[in-house]
């Protein structure tokens, strides 16, 4: 799945915890320098935010009309 923001997308909207977390960390491991990834969820993943901050990753969040949180993450 691709998205206008980035081709690296984890669509976790219909996944049960902790799968969104696991998939996101797996994709982050595969990103090359300068690449960004997008996580799609119907909630804000606060435990993931904490881990991203601990690991020095940056992210920005946008809530779109259908209730999806688009979380753009980069190393």
């Amino acid at each position: 799945m691709s998205h206008p923001k980035t081709p690296h997308v984890v669509d976790a909207r219909y996944m049960e915890p902790p799968e969104p977390f696991v998939k996101t960390m797996e994709m982050l491991d595969t990103l090359k320098e300068g690449e960004k990834m997008l996580l799609l969820l119907f909630r804000e993943p606060h435990p993931l935010y904490r881990v991203l901050k601990q690991n020095g990753h940056a992210y920005e969040v946008e809530l779109v009309a259908d209730g999806t949180f688009e979380i753009l993450i980069w190393p």
Binding site: R13, Y14, E16, P17, P18, F21, V22, M25, E26, D29, F42, R43, E44, H46, P47, Y49, R50, V51, V61, L63, V64, A65, D66, G67, T68, F69
Partner: protein, 432 residues
């Protein structure tokens, strides 16, 4: 990477568990009270027995589980970590349980000292809780409708507590206040500004997460808690300045907003991706159906004052919204949260070397479903008892006792199995 899954910030299992395991005992006490008092309890909502049973369910069951769950899920839904969740849980649980029992004793035995003590214990406990939770919550950015909803819900809790304390002290010390109007307002704050807003804020997260449904539309989820809160605010203003039309308009809009939330949640559930209907899903369907009937009836009685002023309607509304609605939502969530937390803590205990058992090994689907049928029977009998108290009041109380005893059995069984698995995991780790 797996080490990152340790969720080291999650509160200890003992923090929320004490609330979850105590709540059904209050439900059981409510049932015993109905069996003991029998038909006279249902003469009106103002009988000492009805007031006592209502508060056994609203403080003893609902508030207990809502605050216990909140301590657990604040880090997940709002990124807020309390400094010492176990210590907060201990005094909050003690204050809530003893305060609820004092209040019930005050109502039942007409004891002013018990009523005043209950007001002081509950007032101080909940004010302390709000002082612990409000600073970090207000500092958190309202980055999602859930965080904004939680902030409003806490204000709703504060309003409910202030009104409740004033009412209990007024009853105890004979203050000349319009008790009936204030009690209506206390109920509106408790069930709308606190319970309703909290339910919506949490549902935005847990309905898509637990039941694999689509999400709530962003615009609606931003505004719904604000509008419900505003309606309760206008309702309060209408009482202070004696503006009955404004009060009626606020009641109509608040009921409509509640209906919108219930209908949208039902629609989302019909679009879920999880094929199997589990206990949480069924409990939510029951809760939504009861809440829709209750809110629809609240809409109609605004225009039909003879029904509103009858003894039956407030009892029916209370049974449908509290026992049928809120308690169904809560038990449905407990059946997801307790096995999930047990699994999570076992997973951490296994340190990625020994796997945790599947959640259905901790609490089986069949047991949850059977318990739900008892709960459904209790609601049906309680509704029938409003019209035929001589025949049905005691059977309704008995059904409530059975439903809550079954809930205790299920939850305690899950905890016992959790402890057994924890022992096995510790033994396996020792030989690795």
């Amino acid at each position: 990477m797996k080490a990152l899954l340790s969720f080291d910030k999650a509160p200890p299992f003992a923090a929320p568990l004490r609330f979850f395991l105590t709540a059904p005992f209050f439900g059981l006490l409510a049932g015993l009270l109905i069996v003991w008092e029998g038909p006279s309890l249902l003469v009106s909502r103002w009988t000492p027995g009805a007031l006592a049973a209502t508060h056994l369910l609203t403080i003893g069951f609902m508030l207990q589980t809502m605050l216990g769950a909140l301590i657990q899920i604040l880090p997940v839904v709002a990124g807020i970590n309390l400094a010492n969740p176990l210590r907060v849980a201990r005094w909050l649980h003690g204050g809530l349980s003893s305060g609820a029992l004092l209040l019930v004793a005050g109502f039942l035995f007409g004891q002013p000292d018990a009523l005043a003590s209950a007001a002081i214990v509950l007032g101080l406990t909940l004010a302390s809780f709000l002082m612990v939770i409000m600073p970090p919550l207000l500092r958190a950015r309202s980055s999602s409708p859930t965080v904004r909803g939680l902030k409003l819900a806490m204000l709703g809790l504060a309003g409910t507590v202030v009104l409740g304390v004033v009412l209990a002290l007024a009853l105890a010390w004979g203050w000349p206040l319009p008790l009936i109007a204030l009690a209506d307002l206390h109920a509106a704050w408790g069930l709308g500004a606190w319970g309703g807003v909290l339910l919506a804020a949490i549902a935005y997260v847990v309905v898509p997460m637990f039941q694999l449904t689509p999400g709530y539309q962003a615009r609606l989820s931003w505004w719904l808690p604000v509008l419900i809160f505003a309606c309760i605010g206008f309702w309060s203003v209408s009482l202070i300045f004696e503006l009955p039309l404004l009060g009626q308009a606020a009641q109509v809009v608040a009921s409509l907003l509640g209906l919108v939330f219930c209908v949208i949640t039902l629609r989302l559930q019909f679009k879920r991706r999880r094929a199997r209907a589990d206990a949480t899903y069924r409990y939510w369907q029951l809760g939504l159906s009861c809440a829709i009937i209750a809110l629809f009836s609240a809409l109609t009685v605004v225009l039909w004052s003879t029904v509103a002023n009858s003894n039956e309607w407030p009892l029916l509304f209370g049974i449908l919204l509290v026992a049928g609605g809120f308690i169904s939502f809560i038990v449905g969530m407990l059946y997801k949260i307790v096995p999930f937390l047990a699994w999570l803590h076992l997973q951490n205990l296994g340190q990625s070397k020994v796997p945790a058992p599947a959640m259905n090994k901790i609490l089986g689907e069949k047991a949850m479903h059977r318990q739900m049928l008892c709960h459904l029977l209790a609601i049906a009998l309680a509704l029938g008892a409003v019209f035929s108290p001589d025949w049905l009041a005691r059977p309704a109380g008995l059904a409530l006792v059975v439903a809550n005893a079954f809930l205790i059995w299920n939850l305690a069984g899950a905890v016992i199995r959790y402890r057994q698995h924890a022992l096995v995991i510790a033994q396996k780790l020792a030989v690795l």
